[in-house]
């Protein structure tokens, strides 16, 4: 049983590793194009900062009941954020991802939901794409002015924090910021390794910084730099969403792991 959950974590880790070539190359390209565009007055819809009247809140929950602990946490945090937004006089809409969240919001028709997206145990690019598409069209059509993503950030085997990140507008420097304005460089990527230390299961975290050196002599742009950025930013959005969902999967597997571990210990003690 422990092996099953450990296998899930390993698969999720593999998925994170598989996702890295894409996001590293993307960040590298974004940096170098951004350098070349510093002097130009560029209007890129996805980085458009405008006065906020309506916010889209993407709420990501896990599928299994066993992770109920932090699903409840997330939904509570979502309700708290909705209350905050209302107090600020802002309109809002929810995009729910994951069966738990979906059934929660279905039971509460007073909360406006734009879309229900089914999660799965190992999110694929198609799901990230569905979220990105919805979020993209809401933002670009100016139906909403800000998109926030609410999910669980993995801290350690026994601790997770529900976090709210601003997904859109994208920061032109490729940073990911939370709602308090604390920003993290997108070139940094955390990954987790499940190992044992002194017979105990632990997770080690490493931060890898992607190389952002110049790729080659100045690349000639086939189209207008704005069109190129237009093509890059949705890719960036997709990969960020996928990264976050994958991190969430690793999270989901670990409470089950712990639970089985304790049960095994109890059995051994008797």
């Amino acid at each position: 049983m422990k092996l099953v959950a450990a296998a899930k974590v390993r698969r999720a880790q593999e998925a994170v590793v598989n996702a890295r070539p894409f996001s590293e190359t993307l960040v590298e390209v974004l940096y170098s194009i951004n350098e070349q565009l510093q002097t130009e007055d560029v209007d890129v819809p996805l980085t458009n900062v405008r006065p906020v009247k309506k916010v889209a809140l993407v709420v990501v929950t896990g599928d299994r009941g066993l992770c109920g602990g932090f699903n409840n946490f997330i939904l509570k945090k979502a309700e708290a954020r909705i209350k905050e937004l209302k107090t600020l006089g802002l309109d809002y809409v929810v995009i729910s991802v994951g069966k738990k969240g979906n059934s929660y919001f279905l039971r509460r028709p007073e909360i406006p939901v734009d879309k229900f997206i089914d999660g799965s145990n190992l999110p694929t690019a198609k799901e990230a794409q569905a979220i990105a598409d919805d979020v993209f069209s809401l933002f670009v059509s100016e139906e909403v002015d800000k998109v926030e993503l609410l999910y669980t950030k993995f801290v350690s085997l026994v601790k997770s924090d529900p976090v709210i990140h601003t997904l859109l507008p994208l920061s032109p420097k490729g940073e990911i910021c939370d709602i308090n304005g604390v920003c993290v460089d997108a070139a940094e990527d955390e990954f987790f390794r499940l190992t044992t230390k002194e017979g105990k299961l632990t997770v080690e975290r490493d931060t890898i910084r992607a190389e952002t050196a110049d790729f080659s002599p100045i690349l000639q742009f086939e189209q207008d730099p704005v069109q190129i950025l237009d093509a890059l930013l949705p890719l960036y959005l997709n990969s960020q969403i996928l990264r976050i969902c994958l991190g969430f999967t690793i999270d989901g597997a670990k409470p089950r792991l712990l639970e089985r571990f304790w049960r095994l210990l109890l059995v051994l003690r008797h």
Binding site: A19, P21, V29, A128, E222, L232, P234
Partner: protein, 133 residues
């Protein structure tokens, strides 16, 4: 001189090996790439990528993104990519019909944008199967 092609999607590496030539669909037309091509950066449209290995051509459906070419390295970053051999013709045709119907029913700017995107993707997948040469 060998040309290396790398096709990456957010969750996997779809292709990473040598090719003889490629033809890429971009927003400003098709680009043929042979060894020693000049370094360029281009947006990639939702469309077909043709790859030549020796005398054989194979096709891939790309769902939009970006490509950079230089030093005999082609890196294509796309939202999704499917080799034509991996696409089920019946399923692709059905998806196309569903997308066409959805576009006819679409109301408002947002639904139309989404429906158009879905249609272009579905069309590309069907073209990929038919474009085997």
């Amino acid at each position: 001189m060998t040309l290396n092609l790398c096709v990456l999607t957010p969750n996997r590496i779809v292709w990473d090996s040598e090719v003889k030539e490629i033809i890429l669909s971009t927003n400003s037309g098709q680009i043929g790439v042979l060894p020693n091509h000049a370094p360029i950066a281009t947006a990639v449209d939702i469309g077909i990528l043709r790859i030549r290995l020796n005398d054989q051509w194979l096709t891939m459906a790309l769902m939009g993104g970006f490509a950079r070419i230089g030093n005999n390295e082609i890196t294509v970053l796309v939202n999704d990519a499917e080799k034509s051999s991996d696409i089920d013709p019946e399923e692709a045709q059905q998806t196309l019909e569903i997308a066409e119907a959805a576009l006819r029913k679409a109301e408002g700017k947002r639904q139309t944008i989404e429906a158009n995107l879905a249609l272009r993707r579905a069309r590309t997948r069907v073209e990929a199967i038919n474009a085997i040469s």
